[in-house]
Symmetry: C2
Subunit: 354 residues, 2 copies
């Protein structure tokens, strides 16, 4: 846990940044004095709602691996710092999914639950995202844990896992089935191949990352799930295609009659295009927001340009920003960026996986 001086330094830096970027917030001196007194007394301090909103948005702006940052200033911030018990957290996570889903017109949302306090760690969410499927090899640990806790499930394909909340007290995690009305899903079909639907592939609408802490000005919010909309390649090139995930390229290739005897036939490359097309097409048909990688690339460069006009660097991890499909056909491929700075704050920071 950070010492009092570290918290104070980080808090002062943050208040300065907040006032610098929000001229109407006035002189930082008063707020710095306030925050200092609070930290001296309690070892931590409470963000104002405006500070919390700003901090969460800037954490997104600072996410070096995120191609979707153009809209960082439109993030909807749900202030749920008063919620700290597992039941309450679970309820509000379901509500997060409903707010974000918005009938298909996905909204970027973050729900910020109670922060860690000195000697009193807050509750956390176990698992990478709010919604995950039980048969995704990435979920093996969460499946095992849920079953240990008494969950009876995990037998059918694309079964939504229960939410797992780890109380801050260190007591055993609780599990909660996610209500059906909180999870919008899209069955995948192909615009030209009627047989595609029979592959039985589907995915959920809202990618809500739940294994990262939000760190703002010396305060850590370990339960702060956030979501944007999907970029198609995340599903079409990675989740359903990676050999250690759903590994469905061979099945797609077979459906399209591709010659898989030899890598030189580019059957993998062709199957990827068909699978990605099915993803984009199906989300569009279902009225669920999704961006293609060409569009997100163009948007990201608009973001870099706009940030430049504000005199701000855009720390960027090239290997995460360049899409996994047709890299060099996207505009983001052909340049270098400001290097990521792991010490930059506010930021989303990976917790150890659980």
């Amino acid at each position: 846990a950070p010492g009092r001086d570290d918290v104070l330094d980080a808090a002062v830096d943050f208040v300065r940044q907040f006032t610098a970027e929000n001229p109407r917030a006035g002189d930082p001196a008063h707020r710095i004095a306030e925050v200092t007194a609070e930290i001296e007394r309690y070892g931590t301090y409470e963000h104002t709602p405006a500070e919390l909103t700003f901090g969460a948005r800037v954490a997104w702006r600072n996410a070096a691996r995120c191609i979707g940052r153009l809209y960082w200033n439109n993030l909807i911030v749900r202030d749920l710092r008063h919620v700290e018990d597992p039941d309450g957290i679970a309820e509000e996570c379901f509500e997060h999914l409903r707010v974000a889903t918005n009938g298909g017109r996905i909204r970027p949302v973050i729900s910020v639950f109670a922060p860690n306090r000195p000697g009193r760690p807050a509750a956390t969410l176990l698992g990478e995202q709010l919604v995950r499927y039980a048969d995704d090899p990435r979920s093996a640990q969460r499946v095992a844990l849920a079953q240990e806790l008494g969950w009876k499930g995990g037998e059918t394909p694309f079964e939504v896992l229960p939410l797992l909340v780890q109380p801050g007290s260190g007591r055993a995690p609780e599990f909660y089935e996610i209500p059906e009305d909180a999870v919008l899903e899209v069955p995948l079909e192909h615009p030209r191949h009627p047989g595609f639907a029979a592959l039985g592939l589907r995915w959920y609408a809202v990618p809500a990352v739940s294994d990262m802490s939000l760190e703002i000005g010396g305060v850590t919010y370990p339960a702060a799930p956030f979501n944007g909309w999907y970029m198609g390649t995340e599903i079409g090139s990675r989740n359903l295609a990676d050999a250690d995930r759903y590994d469905r390229l061979p099945a797609v290739a077979e459906l399209f009659g591709l010659d898989t005897a030899n890598d030189r036939t580019l059957w993998r490359d062709r199957a990827l295009v068909e699978l990605n097309l099915a993803v984009l097409h199906s989300y569009e048909q279902a009225g669920v927001t999704m961006a293609d990688h060409h569009t997100e690339s163009t948007r990201f460069l608009a973001h870099v340009e706009r940030e430049g006009r504000h005199g701000r660097p855009v720390p960027t991890d090239w290997s995460w920003i360049v899409p996994p499909l047709s890299g060099s056909a996207t505009a983001v491929f052909h340049r270098y960026y400001d290097p990521p700075d792991p010490d930059q704050r506010p930021a989303f920071v990976h917790r150890a996986p659980a």
Copy 2:
């Protein structure tokens, strides 16, 4: 130009590495004494043929951006250090192309011409590769220079540029038409679309990089063109597809009747697959060595493993190693590597473009 002490330090490091990796070379002490005396007298020294071969091969092994390094120890090293006049260099570059082409069974070759000496810079080659086309936007400078020097050409598509040799003396460059028998080319056709050939696309067989210096143990060889065989994506995803190169995706899309109204149709991604397939197919039909990106990825990981068994790191630039097509479908995508070390030697080092 490096000072005497720098040359000496670099030379001693290199001799130590040479003897460490070539146990039969014996104790380095004798050779270090010899080299030291030579440097004290002349400010430079002469590599033995074995040192030159080893140095060139290790420069390849150290090339952090090269996916083709598995065969580093098989590089054919042509010792042409006695050749320093433009006519002789041009003749030997043509011979390099013939040796490397080998009737289509491409061999990795380097031709090492005279090194720089104190106060006496050596001749260099102008242009990125020995073979380049006049209508490639990348060649604009070389075209302009060749025409200034009196070259009458550059009117027809895919016209091979003359070789430009810059004498070490600083006199004007000389230009040399490359003889037809030195340049094997492959007209591109598609295995299933007979109309593809009418696009009139073609490419040459041997990518021979000519704008990098070879640096070994404090000695710089500024004219040291080297080649491997092509990986298909270099031509299919970059040279013929990049918007600032031949930009032929729209033409390919039209040929295949793709809907280019919207990026979401993935027409670029599909056109890339067709173009890359045409490249791989045509080289195979023509009997010209070419690797696909899946195969080169697998080979590269075999290289990393083998180097590991020798206790050697493999400095690697992820953003260059991951192929520009279907990145995540290749094995090299899913891991990190030892970081590139710009100070590592022997190495190929970019000269300023000319």
